[in-house]
């Protein structure tokens, strides 16, 4: 897992307290609103997302930038590549 610190994002998707597999459905929808090159920050408290989101990025051709751990949730960063 790639860790980042104080990463700046263009938009945030808050999925804290939301159920699996929403973390694999909502980022795609949210990325549609971003321009190529922009970064989406995904907030989640679901541990499974740490494996799922990098894999999803690979499958969908998006770039997984890394993650940062907060006290109650994780922040995962995706750069829109297409």
């Amino acid at each position: 897992m790639k860790f980042v610190e104080n990463f700046s994002a263009d938009d945030t998707l808050d999925l804290v307290c939301r159920m699996c597999p929403l973390h694999l459905l909502e980022p795609g929808e949210k990325l549609k609103c971003l321009k190529t090159g922009q970064v989406l920050e995904v907030l989640t408290d679901y541990d499974g997302a740490l494996e799922d989101i990098p894999e999803w990025c690979e499958k969908c051709g998006q770039e997984f930038m890394g993650m940062e751990e907060e006290e109650d949730y994780y922040k995962l960063y995706i750069r829109k590549t297409k």
Binding site: D14, M19, D72
Partner: protein, 390 residues
């Protein structure tokens, strides 16, 4: 006259257009909305249309509505969902002393986890004083829940004033609006609430459906874990016919609300004046003006509420004594105790809740039969005998 039903706070008949709207979703459009083929996925759009109708009725955005199985579940989700999501921020919850059991017991549930719950006292009309709320808020307060309209005494709380205090203090504010949505205009933005519960029961929708409004970006821990229905906030396959029923009932309420209010207010006025003319030693509970338009509640001296309900039942009149839950438990209503009604007088509680189907003739019938029932019960009451002999 066969019967007069005046307990619309407990349940309302489902109206014909609502039943008509629901019917195709039992057989013709039966698919599971989570499936990807047409007969299922098309229903997903139907659910979103209903969400829009509910949202329109209370002035919210479509995506701020979660469908639940009842008003009680909406209250549970508001309280437990928001407190669990914010439990590291504090351990203090404030509710009023006149809340429905679904709010009271949800808040008390957290006492087992070392939370503290403050029950705000109310005045003789059941109103929460904003200054009392201000005094009760502490740095560790995470949630305030005060009902919009009281189902037992009809009083409407000053929600926008109370929510303003919470906003200034950075505390979440929830209101149980089960008794008000569909009966008076309700706008979440004017009320300034973070969460609002509503139910199909008082809207002319079927039982088993409710909804929770929540402010954007508010985190809610799901109570029912499962699939990603309700955008991952409530698991379980959607009750599509009931959701369609709630949507249709909301649409009708949006169109007819003013007429409904005018109708029930006029008949309620006749009922209240008529009861005061015909029965002595009786008090009208709740606020005289700030109250639900179709709500008339009384405490009658030297009367046992259950006995009165039973006698009226024999005449084909259906009313209630206290809330449906409290009356079944044969408990003195905590709401009546909170507004300072002495326990013996609180025993004589009777609540009439009218809707737009009630007629003048029905009100007249109640006014004819109620005094007779009261007189009969008082004639065998030792309390009344003692009082009148003195």
């Amino acid at each position: 006259m066969d019967s007069v039903y005046m307990d619309h706070a407990s349940a309302t008949p489902v109206r014909a257009p609502v039943i008509e709207a629901m019917m195709p979703y039992f057989d013709q459009h039966f698919g599971n909305p989570s499936t990807v083929y047409d007969i299922g996925s098309n229903i997903k759009n139907v659910i979103e249309e209903q969400r829009e109708k509910v949202a329109k009725l209370i002035g919210s955005k479509t995506e701020q509505i979660i469908f639940t199985s009842s008003g009680a579940e909406a209250n549970n989700l508001a309280i437990k969902g928001s407190v669990f999501a914010r439990q590291k921020k504090g351990t203090h919850i404030i509710i009023s002393a006149v809340e429905h059991h679904s709010v009271l017991n949800s808040a008390r549930f957290f006492e087992r986890m070392d939370f503290e719950v403050t029950l705000l006292p109310v005045d003789e009309y059941g109103l929460v004083a904003p200054e009392r709320l201000l005094d009760a808020i502490r740095p560790e307060t995470v949630l305030v829940s005060i009902m919009h309209g009281n189902n037992e005494i009809g009083t409407i709380e000053p929600i926008s004033e109370l929510s303003t205090i919470c906003k200034e203090k950075g505390v979440l504010f929830h209101t149980d609006a089960v008794a008000t949505v569909g009966n008076i205009p309700v706008d979440v933005n004017e009320l300034g609430v973070d969460m609002l519960s509503l139910s199909g029961i008082s809207l002319g929708a079927p039982k088993g459906i409710g909804a929770l409004y929540f402010r954007e970006k508010l985190r809610l821990m799901p109570l029912i874990h499962g699939g990603i229905q309700e955008r991952g906030r409530r698991g379980g396959t959607e009750n599509v016919p009931a959701i369609v029923g709630l949507g249709k009932a909301s649409e009708l309420a949006s169109e007819e609300l003013t007429d409904r209010i005018n109708h029930v207010q006029e008949l309620r006025g006749i009922l209240v004046a008529g009861i005061h003319e015909r029965i002595n030693n009786i008090i009208y509970t709740g606020h005289p003006e700030k109250r639900l338009p179709g709500h008339a509640s009384f405490c009658i001296e030297a009367i046992e509420g259950e006995a009165l309900i039973f006698m009226l039942n024999q005449e084909g009149i259906y009313a209630n004594t206290g809330s449906a839950c409290a009356s079944k438990a044969l408990k003195t209503s905590p709401v009546l105790v909170a507004i300072g009604i002495p326990p013996d007088l609180a025993q004589g509680s009777i609540v009439f809740t009218l809707n737009s189907s009630i007629t003048f003739e029905e009100v007249e019938y109640v006014l004819k039969k109620l005094p007779f029932a009261v007189e009969k019960l008082r004639s065998i009451s030792p309390v009344w005998r003692k009082k009148t002999a003195a």
